[in-house]
């Protein structure tokens, strides 16, 4: 499930989708970010730091947050990877966060959780994956990991 070290650049189609997402979300402190599909922060799509309140990757759907090329993403209110709370969610939800390359940083204040499956959905599972690649730095105050 890990990305190869050189997989910094995604296909052009993926970049286009992320640009569309970026239009919908105005990064600012106090705004929550929920990532379904892909959210990409690199030197092409975003040239400034991204500051959010709570970041949720993979909420009832697969999600991937990519922080590349020396960019900084902050979650001032905590972060969770993999949150399954809907009975219509897929049986398995995969939440991936990649922080790779050139002093790329993910900084979280508050709790960092993986696999936050709601107890009412025992038949569904979230798989949380955090990859810190070459040059990447993830800084959290504390963490609770249920999956990798």
């Amino acid at each position: 499930m890990r990305l190869p070290a050189l997989m910094h650049r995604l296909p052009a189609t993926a970049v286009v989708c992320t640009l569309a997402l970026a239009v919908l979300i105005t990064p600012a402190s106090g705004v929550d970010l929920t990532v379904s599909g892909e959210y990409l922060v690199d030197d092409v799509t975003n040239t400034t730091s991204q500051v959010f309140n709570v970041i949720t990757v993979g909420r009832n759907a697969n999600g991937t947050l990519n922080v590349f090329d020396g960019r900084l993403v902050s979650a001032t209110g905590g972060m969770q990877l993999g949150l399954v709370s809907s009975p219509t969610a897929p049986t398995t939800v995969t939440a991936v966060t990649n922080v790779i390359g050139n002093h790329s940083r993910l900084e979280v204040s508050g709790t960092f959780l993986t696999m936050a499956t709601n107890g009412n959905q025992p038949a569904r599972t979230a798989i949380a994956i955090l990859n810190v690649g070459a040059g990447g730095h993830v800084r959290i105050p504390s963490g609770r990991f249920s999956t990798s």
Partner: protein, 291 residues
Amino acid sequence: MTVSGPGSLFEVLTNLEMWQDATRIATLRIELGGTASIGTTINVAGTPQIIIDGGTLSLTDPSALPASGIIQFNSGALRFRSSQTLAAGTAFLTEFYGSPPVFGTDRGLAIDGTTTLTTSLLLDGGSLSSVRIAVDPSTGSLLLNGGTLTLTGEGAVIDDGGDFGPDPLMVGDGLGAPMLLELDGAGDVLLGAVTVAADGTLNFGGESLIVDSLDNGGSVSVADATLDVRAGLLNAGSLSLSDVVVEGGVMSPAGATIDVAGTVVFNGDYAGAAAFYGSGTVVFNGTLSFD
């Protein structure tokens, strides 16, 4: 979770909790070039996995380690951010380095403080890094057969007599596995008798390296420092000096080499037909014989 690649860092300022239940196993994999730094402790429920596969797990001290069996130490290093005593039966030593501890080519340990050795430790291709090392002269020893020993502190080596475990301190064993003793800290370093074998290298980057005697059959490099060899220096290998004052007698027979840069001053007697190389200036203040 995976930390992999040069400069990659996963930093937890306080606690890391890792769970395992019927369907989920938390896994932290630390691969080559990666570091996972945990501020206080690793709390586990069930049997999650921490796999050290070439990277470094950094903790305040061994008490922060999870229960035995959680960590799968394939290769890489542990780092403790405090002084440590390495004694016979020390739990983490036994679990990860064996008993008696052997640092093979796939094993490293870094201690950000003073390492006190009260047991025998064999560096056999791996790495050991510390600010200082104190060897208990009665029960401790450090055998340097191969690998890299890096001492970063002033007065890098300390114990009762200036010895370093068995006397003389052997850098390398002559059997071919390269052994590097890197003394990088500022200030003075005091050693007893030192023998550098053919497969050994000693690099000094402090202010004064003071040794009872130095028998070099391998490679010794000193820069911007005073090299004080009280009972003399025998150089049968490669000696590299850059802006160095040498106190004490030097014997360097034919077949040996001395590379000079800057100004090198021999304040004691010098004898031998070793070949000099380099572009610096050499000053002999004692008796000089090229026989």
